[in-house]
Symmetry: C3
Subunit: 317 residues, 3 copies
């Protein structure tokens, strides 16, 4: 593995999941692998789970980990070419990324979409430029359109909690929110589920259709009840509209998942990538109840990051 | 030791002090104890000494230390239950703490009081929720009402600098300040001194009485001169009023400690937890003179944190 | 070596360069040297290269490295003596530095000049006070008037890229910028070049003369073309005026270096300390072309910092 930015970087998804589960049993088994290797974790946006879990993952492998919140500790980067830099941006991504490529062995980079210009966000310009100019292996810590470490952790969690049933039913359901959020998590979850051995259903209000390249193979319905029928896993997440880009089209609290609605599921386990706004996106009664997987799901972020770093270390050094 | 949030977590204070003094002689003696253990230091408020000394303490024990300024690198946490999170808080403390509990082995948490609502601050709601939801050992890095790592370092410093005299006289004196400061440091110092083998006197202007549960056993006087008579150690600190909660009742510079006033002490050694505002809280002549212990006192913060982490590692893993 | 704040701290510059080049071949050869030693990197101003390269340098030597952005994670320091601290500064540099001296074995400190008061900036008051009060070895991570780790990296880069020619011609040329920048980098580069085995020429518009103590021995010309004739290395940098202190006297884009202007050089290699504003300070065509050394120059920052830390560790512990 050279870079890890989407499910397309993984040749055999189920083999990766199995390797992760092995690693989880013995997280320090490869603590020599990262000796004298530096992992740089660069955040252009805030982070809690991704930052902590990636830092821990690198440390578990014996890497030196350097965390930098570029937006707060550094300065604004210019990403456009051909502009005279006489404004507020202090350094061009071409230099910043190239320099990081000299100091780090592996680079993790987080960059949220602006949600103003869909073409720009979906071009993954910033992530691609970091890959191009850093010239070292790059791990996405969430980009404009995807959050692959989250999706891998999600799939691990589903695998761990699946019962005898050969193909569990997994439902991605939209949830209300007061702020426009990126599509990265649902896009990414969808493209991983479409590659996994599950029955995958997406449900959301009209207008919230995700980009089709992420959802190919999924069943899509505007009827949440229909989607929830016999669901084994329910993945709850808000996102803003893709077509009417970045817009909030509804905040209908009828989409809020409650214990009442869980009854039509197959004792469905509830997931969320966190942070979650209680009783807006997801009810407290579910988060505090026996069906919630959100904490073990977050815990798996460490092992998802660790297996990716392990593979990158093995393949590139 | 499971948690360290107050003197009540210590069964034998003088044994802890002796262990700290031993550790100080050989700080790297237990550098294998923390192997493959992660210490998370989470700051909801700024810190210099606590952050640096706790980070170093963990490293001395061989722990991986992850520092995160949640207020700056992360986002605002919701601490109340039963609210629909449609405002400015992004994540509930229930999830944030639980996730940290998955990534860390030991959690250090700093959370200042708001000084608006006494009941809320004195309930130690935030600290208690971190303990409840993280489900791992928790060390207070200063909470609403106490700063126990500071108090332990203070006691170590007093022990080191005590002469043959069996029970030194220790005076906690209020000092002026322009901003309303928490009572955490004086509360905590008082409750530790009340358990130590010292004659303990507190002096402050009328209205600055601390909560009685912290000062039980102390002599309290409004006459600073009387308090300073023959004092061996003078602990200088501003705090805002407890009864007229969070208020500044006076900024009377007559309470400022000077060399002149030191004459009535027993060549008293002067302490302060720092940061100190020079010539407002404490005179430069004392800070720069031979009676000041503020720097060795700050140095002892490392060993205070280290002995606490050592005991937690020994008892819980 | 006790401190590293200018070229004057180096007894034999070419020996230091040779040692750095050796270290670069085997950066982990001394990974035991820093065991149980803590490097504190304190930033009063933002940093990218200096922060990352110094952190990596310390880690390469086996040191524990603690990075703190004092301006963001901590609070404002008072640097003046004799003031009653009843304003916005929370802690005096006397205490802050002394405490850091207790926690760290080596202190790196960055402090930019205010560019308002030349005497104050050029007194290097803050750096000198850190040295005085911390009482441990101090490395400048850029101060009011110098950036010696940058200059050492620059000299290493020139040495590496020098061809058979015994004394390469090195030109420091002023470049336009929209903000007033410190003189630290050009001052420092000049004083290192004046000690190196090179023909050193400085060129800038009228009014941009640097302080003479940094440029003694250099040829100074206001004619950029004349300076560039047969140049082997061209060091591009903006600075604000020293005499009309902190002022921008011109933004004349005629000073912008382009491929066209490189023709009169001896296939001159182009350097810049970064961050660089593209097409304002330096043309994109040069930065993206074969003559640019800016990335290998930045890479050498690691080895410059590492050799300095190595010498300090060897001499002081």
């Amino acid at each position: 593995m050279r870079n890890f930015t989407s499910v397309a970087d993984v040749t055999n998804v189920s083999a990766l999941v199995n390797e992760t589960l092995d690693l989880k049993k013995n997280p320090y088994a490869f603590s020599q692998l990262g000796k004298n290797k530096t992992l740089g974790l660069i955040f252009l946006n805030p982070s809690l789970r991704t930052r902590l879990s990636s830092q821990k993952a690198g440390q578990n492998l014996g890497m030196e980990v350097i965390v930098m919140n570029m937006d707060k500790e550094g300065w604004a980067l210019e990403t456009r070419d051909g502009v005279i830099m006489n404004g507020t941006t202090v350094e061009h991504i071409r230099e910043a990324a190239a320099v990081m490529g000299q100091y780090f062995d592996v680079l993790g980079i987080r960059s949220f979409p602006g949600l103003q210009n869909r073409d720009e966000d979906y071009s993954e310009d910033i992530l691609q430029k970091f890959i191009k100019f850093a010239q070292i292996p790059v791990v996405s810590l969430e980009s404009g359109t995807r959050h692959p470490l989250q999706s891998l952790a999600d799939l691990i969690t589903i695998t761990e909690h699946s019962t005898a049933k050969p193909r569990p039913k997994v439902v991605l359901t939209w949830a209300p929110h007061v702020k426009p959020l990126p599509q990265a998590v649902p896009n990414s979850f969808a493209e991983w589920m479409c590659q996994a051995d599950v029955d995958f259903v997406i449900t959301h209000p009209h207008g919230y259709e995700l980009a089709e390249n992420f959802t190919e193979g999924a069943t899509i319905t505007y009827n949440q009840d229909e989607a929830l029928q016999n669901a084994d896993f329910i993945y709850v997440k808000n996102w803003s509209a893709y077509h009417d880009y970045g817009k909030i089209l509804t905040t209908d609290s009828g989409w809020l998942l409650t214990n009442e609605r869980l009854r039509i599921t197959n004792q469905g386990k509830v997931m969320h990538c966190l942070p979650v706004r209680r009783d807006l996106e997801l009810s407290s009664e579910i988060l505090d109840g026996p069906n919630s997987l959100v904490i073990p799901e977050a815990a798996n972020r460490v092992y998802a990051a660790q297996v990716v770093l392990k593979r990158i270390l093995e393949a590139n050094f």
